[in-house]
Symmetry: C2
Subunit: 329 residues, 2 copies
């Protein structure tokens, strides 16, 4: 148990709303099929926003809520699959956009695709609990729409853009807030089920053999769901075996918004009630690494999650990685 | 002080040696200028190797030395600026290439450009010391030559390709090995001094406005050296103020091989003797995030570094980030 606290949360949504009707008109994907197949009714798309600009807006909101100035941060972590550019790391640009002073913080990026946020939270919580850092900003930002393949209707229908951020500090004396326990397991037999094959050194952007398709999202939805739904039940058994909470004692379950089917599993098969689940899929879509911190931040601001609540973050990521993290908010 | 141990080290160098004479012939950059300006006489370039294949070779060597099977790992961390592809994270592909079993390890990437290795080592050491992970593989792999701009002679002359890996475990009872102290500071006023502007979401590979130049390395050598050399002296003062070692008590200094001038600073201005410094710049070049773990691994295998030795990892990274980490090997 790590004595750390989410001292502030924030998010950013691009102004541009994209409805199913727009997708039907633009791409010929039937609006009612989208709603039925994915559960998404609208999502946001970036126009001029970038990974860094969205992260910075979310960070400013989280810092204001925490009452912490950018100058007080000693680490800035970009927890995302969508870097601004190849070099340097994206957290560096967030330091600058926040006008956080030169030299006052350490900047680095952590990437575990859709589970980047809980994985980074678990990782960094150890450094905050030990005193290596005292005030850490974690940002997840995803302009997913930039990498969607219009020919792959399931992913086009599913994904949206967003950013979210939290400020992590030690808990003060007498505060119950803590990070309880986390578990992450990667099943690389599923590595090709969700991919952007380009964007790295294997299919370099300047390589004439790199095709535009390689730089776009590619998802084998049914195969991922099959692998994920087979693995998640025993995974959660293992996770709860080390946790002194029963499932019905959890106040809020924040799932990764992988898909409608993935969310339905939580109540259909995994022992949670729909009251426990924070679900904004219909209006946000799957926002990759931003999904979990966005749902968390919105639930905190709606007072759906309050201090002392038992919160579970849970989901799957490209990899295939399964993850769960329990905290007292 | 964290009671962790580097239980094994390994590296991989591409077979293809590239001499200054070859660069002179191919690119018209005078061989004697390269040697004089950069201190590099030869470097390696990938042919068919990839970020993942090099990391896997280095990992197998480190695992064999540690006497640890891939199945025993509970985390695999890719600490590098050069992912294999945009999604999923590169550590996932290393799990599979090592035939490490599905589900037995957590896979994620950490990026702090040239300081990715010491930053990831410091981060993960907290999780090993707390028992969250027991046996972690850290890999840094950089096919830098894929992103060099032939028109920028200083960086073409300087960079080489390599990978290196370590296995991190808790220290056994009675072992002195530990991670003592680390400090990282990012000065984002220098963010544009070392860049690859493409390869992310800002200048997407499919964006018609993304030019080939944007996907290549761009370095303002003199400006970086000016900023870095001004900052490194007070930075090391702060670092040593929290460390119970004097500079002359350090058995081996492993610098990031940023450039000849950067290495010369260590003896000229920063109070170290040339005997203390592990310097393979002449035959390896600057291997980005692989430079520090490569020099460490080669020094361990040469018995230049032995158990109980006091080791300092130190350097600068694009960002601009300064970093130093003290450990007892």
């Amino acid at each position: 148990m790590l004595s750390v606290k989410i001292a502030g949360t924030g998010w950013y949504l691009p102004e541009r709303r994209v409805t199913n009707a727009e997708l039907e008109e633009r791409l010929g994907i039937a609006a009612d099929w989208i709603a039925r197949a994915t559960g998404v009714h609208e999502r946001r798309y970036v126009t001029n926003e970038t990974s860094v600009s969205m992260a910075t807006e979310a960070a400013q909101m989280a810092l204001a809520e925490a009452g912490i100035r950018p100058a007080d941060l000693d680490a800035i972590v970009f927890a995302s699959s969508a870097p601004q550019q190849a070099i340097p790391c994206t957290a560096t640009f967030i330091q600058r956009a926040l006008a956080a002073p030169d030299g006052a913080s350490t900047c680095f990026d952590i990437n575990a695709t859709c589970l980047s946020f809980p994985l980074a939270l678990h990782t960094v919580a150890h450094l905050v609990a030990s005193g290596a850092y005292r005030r850490v900003l974690l940002c997840s930002s995803e302009p997913a729409s930039r990498s969607l393949n219009p020919a792959e209707r399931e992913s086009v229908a599913l994904f949206g853009d967003a950013a979210a951020a939290v400020v992590l500090t030690p808990s003060a004396e007498g505060e119950r807030s803590c990070l309880h326990h986390a578990l992450f397991e990667t099943y690389s037999s599923g590595a090709e089920l969700t991919q952007i094959r380009g964007g790295g050194t294997l299919h370099h952007p300047n390589d004439p053999a790199t095709t535009p398709d390689m730089n776009l999202f590619q998802m084998q939805g049914p195969a991922i769901f099959k692998q994920g739904s087979r693995l998640i039940e025993p995974f959660l058994e293992r996770f709860f075996a080390s946790l002194p909470w029963k499932r019905d004692q959890i106040d809020a379950v924040i799932p990764h918004h992988a898909s409608r089917h993935a969310l339905d599993l939580l109540t259909r098969k995994l022992g949670f009630t729909s009251d426990q689940i924070v679900d904004n899929l219909a209006v946000r879509g799957n926002c990759v690494s931003a999904s979990i911190p966005l749902a968390l931040a919105e639930a905190v601001h709606d007072r759906r999650i309050q201090r002392g609540h038992r919160v579970l973050l849970v989901g799957t990521a490209a990899g295939l990685t399964l993850g769960a993290l329990a905290l007292i908010f």
